[in-house]
Amino acid sequence: MKAQSKLITTTILSALAGGVVIGGWTIYPRARAAYAQSSQVSPVHAVPQATAGGVVVELCDGVTHTEVTGLKPGQAMTHAQALAVTGKLMAEWQRKHPGEKWLMAQASDQGTPGTAEPAAEASGGGARNIGGPGAAEQGAKLRSQQGDTYASFHDRDYKVWKAETDAFVAQGSEIFHSAKLLGGTIGVSCDMCHPNAANTHPETYPKYQEQLQKVALLRDMINWCIENPVKGKTLDPNDPKMRALEAYILASRKGTPLDYGKH
């Protein structure tokens, strides 16, 4: 089972190594570098020379290959021919890996993938586990859907996104703790009244703020604080600093139930 998920991961990696835009979403620069690096260390398939004047077709496992005689380089095979060649390669692979299964995402006639495996393995290479009542059943044949956008994301993606978000939150924290970065003129920073963003209660916005004479969002209060206790210039609502401050404040209140309008 372990080799199975490894195979799938390798397949995906080699597919992704070349491309940058996959399935409508972009890999961010850091991730791109990671993928580029992985392609450098992946093994090279030592493809033998054609001996019978045909074309050598290699399998993605890096070792299996077959020669298609009568085919000139650059010439396309017929559909039937292609099926025969790939079938031969698959048979060769299955001969080398007895008892293992190759998951066919589109093979609907064989049932959805993972019919004989628990959800963790079946969704391949670590896609998000589907929790809920079904997952708890012992020995149950769990099925997970594949092929749509959110099911295509894997652990590596989540790691990348988390790193980006945490970096942004850290930026916000830096601004929050610095009178200078806030543009304050009297040496007062947010953390003086709000250590660890305590008492910011972002979950209570929107609410009517009497002193502003309007319904306020979190960023309106942030701006009021920057203008008054901190004595700096108000930020444009879409200023990266404002967004980072919001990010930090929201992150610090993770898990607090939303309660808009609470005074």
Partner: protein, 382 residues
């Protein structure tokens, strides 16, 4: 266009700008006219400083205050006032904190009868600079009653107490007052976290000034000072009421914000044999009270800004103060008094600015909250 309410402080700045503009190009006669006019306008409104701008210079008092215990003879009861946690920046940078401590000095000077002495609860300076400490000393010299100084971490960690000791003497000392034995501790020592990180004195001070960075060490009284305390108390009979002045709380409230004394249990153990012990501490900038065994604990208010209550570790006996209004710079801040009663226990009055004062009686603490419960806040912190 929607009406926007300005904070009291913004109005203050606008008044100030107006006056300063008028002063920019005028001769002596005009200057005197303007100052007289502003004084008149202010008095007509019935406003006392610092609610609006007046050209007031803090007098550099040539007269030295009676730092020594003048009224040590006599008996309980007695009253003393406190001002704490002023966190002064240089005036050119920040006037808000200066106005706040001046307001506290005015409050204490207006008390009738005057208190026996005034405890300054620590954190006179914000970043421990000589200028900040000197200015703080100047302002406190305006107090009519004698002042007992206590050091805070913001005063200490720029130069490890050099300037503080030059201005105010040793940070650890004791005195007897009307039958009460008073001990003043330096309870904000920290294990060296700066040498390994190659920090400059300014960086060290900035790190200590930040409440929520995890870099600084937790506060402690330290072995040497605990030994001093043992020796100091050895001659005191167990029936004598003890007052301990400390900047950190001498118990463990919230570690992440250094609302904490690392060797609290050891210090409490030294105080355990005494029948009546009250610890008065600063640092927490909020209404805070606790009872551990025989020891009652009171936290003092700050003049500069209020801290929110910590997410955990709040002593169950604490009655929170109403949530501070950010639109009012003085809300949640203030000064206060302590009454050392005839029985040797201590009541406190929290003189919250722009709010009704709150009295907390010793009986509330010693009864475990059963009697004399102070009024509850309408809006707690969250």
């Amino acid at each position: 266009m929607a009406i926007r309410h300005k904070s009291i402080e913004s109005k203050f700045y606008e008044d100030r700008e107006r006056v300063l503009k008028a002063l920019r190009n005028c001769d002596r006669r005009t200057f005197l006219k303007i100052t007289a006019a502003t004084m008149g306008a202010v008095m007509a409104k019935g406003l006392m400083p610092p609610h609006t701008f007046q050209l007031v210079e803090v007098a550099n008092a040539a007269v030295t205050k009676g730092w020594e215990s003048a009224g040590a003879q006599g008996a309980l009861p007695f009253r003393f006032a406190y001002i704490s946690d002023a966190h002064l920046y240089e005036r050119t940078l920040n006037q808000r904190f200066v106005r706040a401590i001046v307001k506290a000095v005015d409050d204490v000077n207006a008390l009738d009868p005057q208190p026996d002495f005034v405890l300054y609860g620590g954190d006179l300076a914000q970043l421990g600079s000589p200028a900040q400490l000197e200015m703080g000393r100047q302002i406190l010299m305006g107090l009519k009653a004698p002042v007992k100084m206590m050091v805070g971490e913001h005063d200490w960690f720029l130069d490890l107490g050099e300037k503080w000791q030059e201005l105010f003497g040793p940070p650890t000392y004791s005195f007897d007052w009307k039958g009460v034995h008073v001990v003043v501790l330096q309870s904000v020592y920290e294990k060296d976290f700066w040498t390994a990180r190659k920090m400059t004195p300014e960086e060290r001070m900035q790190t200590v000034a930040g409440l929520d960075n995890g870099i600084q060490s937790r506060f402690q009284v330290g072995g040497a000072q605990r030994e001093w305390l043992k020796k100091n108390l050895a001659k005191v009979p167990v029936t004598t009421p003890i007052l301990v002045f400390s900047h950190s709380p001498l118990y463990k409230y919230y570690r992440n914000w250094n609302f904490w004394t690392e060797d609290a249990e050891q210090v409490q153990a030294i105080l355990k044999p005494y029948n009546k012990v009250t610890v008065i501490h600063g640092h927490t900038h909020q209404m805070l009270m606790n009872q551990i065994g025989n020891i009652s604990f009171y936290g003092m208010l700050s003049t500069a800004w209020p801290w929110p209550y910590a997410p955990e570790g709040l002593p169950p006996l604490t009655i929170q103060m109403n949530r501070a209004d950010p639109f009012d710079q003085f809300d949640g801040c203030g000064d206060g008094q302590f009454n050392a009663r005839a029985d040797g226990l201590v009541d406190t009055i929290y003189n919250l600015w722009d709010r009704n004062p709150v009295t907390v009686k010793a009986s509330y603490l010693t009864s475990g909250g059963k009697v004399d419960r102070p009024p509850a806040p309408q809006f707690a912190s969250y």
